[in-house]
Symmetry: C2
Subunit: 600 residues, 2 copies
Amino acid sequence: MSYQVDFEPLGRRLGVGRGVSILTAAQQAGVGLVSICGGKGTCGRCQVQVLEGQLSPLSETEAKNLTPDELASGYRLACQAEVLSDLRLHIPPHSLTATQRTQVEGRELTVPIVPVVVGCDFRLSPPTREDIRSDVDRMRDHLALLDYGDLIIDFAVLRQLSTQLREWGWSGTVGLRGREVVSFGPLGRKLLGLAVDLGTTKLAGYLVELQTGRTLAAAGAMNPQIAYGEDVMARIAYAMEGEEQAATLREAAVGAVNDLAHTLCTQSGHLPEEIVEAVVVGNTAMHHLFLGLPVRQLGLAPYLPAVSDALDLKAREVGLEIAPGGYVHLLPNIAGFVGTDHVAMILSTKIYEAEGTVLGLDIGTNTEVVLRAKGRLIACSTASGPAFEGAHIKDGMRAAEGAIERLRITASGVEYQTIGDAPAVGICGSGVLDAVAQLRQLGVLDERGNMGDHHRVRRTQHGPEFVLVAAGEGGNSGDVVITRGDVGEIQLAKGAIRAGINILLDEAGLSAQDIDQVIIAGAFGTYIDVSSAIVIGMFPPLALERFNQVGNAAGMGAKLALVSREQRARAAEVARQVEYIELTNDRRFVDEFARAMYLK
Amino acid sequence: MSYQVDFEPLGRRLGVGRGVSILTAAQQAGVGLVSICGGKGTCGRCQVQVLEGQLSPLSETEAKNLTPDELASGYRLACQAEVLSDLRLHIPPHSLTATQRTQVEGRELTVPIVPVVVGCDFRLSPPTREDIRSDVDRMRDHLALLDYGDLIIDFAVLRQLSTQLREWGWSGTVGLRGREVVSFGPLGRKLLGLAVDLGTTKLAGYLVELQTGRTLAAAGAMNPQIAYGEDVMARIAYAMEGEEQAATLREAAVGAVNDLAHTLCTQSGHLPEEIVEAVVVGNTAMHHLFLGLPVRQLGLAPYLPAVSDALDLKAREVGLEIAPGGYVHLLPNIAGFVGTDHVAMILSTKIYEAEGTVLGLDIGTNTEVVLRAKGRLIACSTASGPAFEGAHIKDGMRAAEGAIERLRITASGVEYQTIGDAPAVGICGSGVLDAVAQLRQLGVLDERGNMGDHHRVRRTQHGPEFVLVAAGEGGNSGDVVITRGDVGEIQLAKGAIRAGINILLDEAGLSAQDIDQVIIAGAFGTYIDVSSAIVIGMFPPLALERFNQVGNAAGMGAKLALVSREQRARAAEVARQVEYIELTNDRRFVDEFARAMYLK
C-alpha cells in the first residue's frame, strides 16, 4: 500500500508505504525538518500541519508538546505521526532547518479554488469539401455547444491555431479566461499558474495547478537588480539615469522571473508554456520597474505611482515567457511606498476582516505597517533600510551559510548559532538584532546606543566595537564584531518601524497595549527573535503569544490571487479600503522617530 | 479673398483666389486633369464632382457635355467652373491623366463620420503633498468629470504617461476607443487614421483626419512580396517552405504598410505616431500573411481561412508603427479566396442594398465576383491569373510609362496610345484586352483563339504572333507583338471570370440580360475598355451604360470602415450575409469554364 504525501508550500511530493512516519517521509523527500532530539519526540520541534488526509492517533508525546490551539489547527509532530492515507501537509517555516529555508515558506490558506482561467477539452469534426468554415469558426461553434458562447481568440493563440489543430488531430484543450481563449494545448493538458513575490532582494515563486490550487513547486532566487543598487531608492536613481538604465532594470527583473519559472517547471517536470496565468506582487518600485513604467515621479516627493489599479496585461507584452496568450495580473498598489506585496500580505493574513486590533508588518528595506482597528485599515511605509539584510553592518552578511543568526551573551562568553552550523564568517540581520538586545540588557549599550566598557569591547579609530567571535574561535577565520556604527544602523531601522507603528496607533486613537495580535511577515521577520525586538523597542512590549510570525505572506497572497477570482476581487477592495498615511508628510513623524531611536 | 480647395481622394489641398477655374487650381496643386481641348470646354473630359462648396453657375458648355445624371450628382467641368468658396472636390479616376493614375482613386462616398477613436483634451491640476493620487487616477478622475467614466489605459500609453504628463504641463489629448485610452499627445493633437488596401501587387494608402473624415494624403506602392512569388498561390507556397519564409513575407507586407504610412505622413506634414487607428483590407492570403497567420490550410483544398472574424489587434502586435496604443482593424473575410478587400468593395459600392440585379467584380490575379439579386448576395472567386497585369504575356508589362494601354487595328495599321505618350516598350493588360478584341473582330482570331493570316502575322517556332508595333516605329526600340500564347492566357483569364459570372447567375435563377448594373472595381478594371471586354466575352453583352467603373472600391471601403463605426458594423453584416460558392467544388464549373474560353 503506497500513499502520496504532498509537502506544501514546498511543492515536494512522494509515495511512501503505510505506517511510515512523516519525519522519515520528509527525509526521503529531501525536506529538512528540524529534529533536535533525533525523532524521540522530546524536542517538539518537527511540527507539521495536516491539511488533508489521515494519520495515526495522537501520541502522548504529541499531546504534551503541542498547545490546544496547535492541536485544533491540525498540528502534529512529524516523528510521531504515521501515514495512513494520501496526505497534504503544510510545513511551517519554523519547522524547517535553516539550510533549507528559502523565502518561499508562508502560512498556507485554504480558499475555494475559482481560477481565472478554466480548461476545456474538445474534439472537432474535421473540415470537408462541404464544411468549409474557418478554423476559428469550427472551434467556436463546437465550444458554443458546450456552453462557451461568443469566444474571442488571443492573437498569439490564433497565430498557431490552424497548424496545431491539424497537428493534434482536431482536438485539444483551450484555456478560457472569461470569453477569451488564452491558451491552446494538446488534449488533456493541465493549466498551470505562476505566483511570484518580487522582492527588492529576493524572489519567491510558486508553480500551481490552477484547477486544484495544488503547489507543484516552490523556489527562491536573488533579485539580480541588486547589482544596480541595494535598496529601492538606489534602483530608482539608477533608472532615472536614462532609458537604457531603466531597461536594464526591467530586463533584470523580467529575466529573473523567467528564470524562476523555468526552475519551477524543471523541478516539477512541466513546461513554461503550460503556465497560462501569472500573478506578480512586489513593492511599488519593483512593480514599476518590472513593467517598465516610469519611476522618476516615484523617487521624488510626493512619491506618486504612475498607476495604482490592478492590471491585467498580456504576459508577452511584459516579456514573460509563459503560454503565448497568457496574462500577468498585478494586484493594485496603495501608494508609492506601499505596494502590491503589502496588499497580498493583507489578503493572505486576512487582517482586513480581523476582529479586534491587529498590527501587520512586512519588514524589509522598506517596512510596510498596517493597522486593523475599529473596522479601519490604516497603512504606512517606513524606510527601515538594508541593515536587517546585513548591509551597512561592518561584519554583516545575508542569511547564508556561516552567518550568525542567533546569539546570547553570557558571563562566560558569546554563545551563537550559525546557519548550516558552519564556522562564523559574519552576522545576519536576526543576529545583529539579538546582539544589540543582549548588549542593551547587559548594560554595555546605554539608551542612546553608546557602548560602555566590557572586556570584549575594544576601541578603534572608528569607535568602539564588541567582539562577538575572535579570529580562530570555532574555526572561523576572522573577527566578527558589532560596532557602535552597527548599533546606530539598527537604531535608525527600528526607530523608523516603531515610529510608523506609533503613528498608526495614534491615528486610530489607541495605545500599544490595545493590540491583540501582531502579524510579522517576510523572510526576515520570520526568523527574528521577537523578544530581542521587544528589548530594543522595535516592537511594543506585548506578551509573546500575541506575536505571529507568518513567513512569506506576500507570496501566499499572490497564490491566493492566482487561484481565486474572489480573492482577486477582495484584494482590489482591500486596496481601496486602506487609508494611507504618508510619513514624510506627517507632522508627528520627526518626534516619534527621534523618540523611537532610543534603546529603552 | 482666398479659398481652400481640397482634391479628394488624392488628399491635395491649396488656397486659390476667388474666380479661379478649377482646372487652373488643379494645375497649381499638381493634380493632372485630362484636358484634351486645352480648356476650351469642347472635349468634356475634365469632369470633377463637387462634394462641398460653391462654384460659378453652370455654363452652356457644361450643360451640353454632362448627362442629366452627372449634373444631378454634382459633376462639373473643371475648365468652366470657377471657385466661389472653400471647396471639396472629388476627382473621378477617368478625369486623371494616365501618368498621374495610381491605384488610390476610387469613388468617394459620404457617410456620417462616427470614428472609432475620439479625442478628448484636458488640463489637470498638478499633484500636491495633499493630493497624492496616482497619475492614472488623477487623469481618470478628471475625465470622469467630462463624462468619460471607467477608463482603462493601454499598456504602451501607460508606460509613457507619467513622463509625458509632466513634460506637457499636466495637459494633453487622449484618444478614446470605447473605454480604452489608446493614445496620448500634447494638447490639441489631431487624431489620424490610416486606411490601406493591401493588394497582391500593389498597395493603396490613405491618411485621414478621423474627426472630419478628410483625406490628408493618398499614395500607392508596390507590394514587395512580389519578389517571393507573383500571385497568391506562389506566395502561399513560399510561406509553406518554413517559418523563416513566412516571416519574410509578413515582414515585407508590414514593412510596406509602414513605409506607406511614412510617405503619407511626410506628404502631409504629420507623424506616424499621430495615427491612432488603421484599417487594412486585402484578399485572405494577404490578410493572413500580413498578420503572420498560417497559410498552409489556405493553399490546400478545401482552402480554409484560419479566421474569418473581423479582428481588432494592437497595431504594435502586428508590427505597425503608429501610435503605441493604436489598433489595426481587419474587416471580416468571407472565404479562402474572398477576402476583406471584397467585403470593403461591397461596402463602398453599396451593392449590399442595391435594388434590382447588380453584378460586382474586382479584377485581379484572383477575380472576386458578387451578385446582388432577389435580396441575396452571392459571391465566388475565380483564378483569373496575372495576365491582366502583363505577366505571362510575351511583351507584357505593368501599367507603366511606355506601356500600350489602348489600341485599334485599322486597315492602315495599328493605332495605339502609350502611358505617358512615351515610345512603346510593351503592352499592359488593358492593351492586350483591346488587341485580342480587335483581332477577333477583324477575324484574325477564330472562336478558339487560333490566329489566321494577316500581313502583320508572322509564324515563329513558338507559333504565330501579330506584330502590333515593329522595331523602330514611333521611336520604340523593339517589336511589340501579341502571340497565340498571349491570346490563350487571355482566354483562360476571361473564361474564369465569365464562368464565375454565369454560375452566380445560374444560382440566382437569372440570365445575363437580367443584370441592371455591372460595377467594375480595381485598378485594372477601371482602365479597361468595357466594349473590348464584351467583344471577347469576358463580360455579358449589355448596354455600355449599365457598366460602372469605380476605381479602388476596396480602398474606399477601408476608408469607410476607418471613419465610421456604423460602416464597420455593416461590413460584418455583409460578410455574414454573403453566400459563398466554392467554384473548385462546383459541378457546373468545368463546363462553364470550357465554354467561356471561346472568343464569341
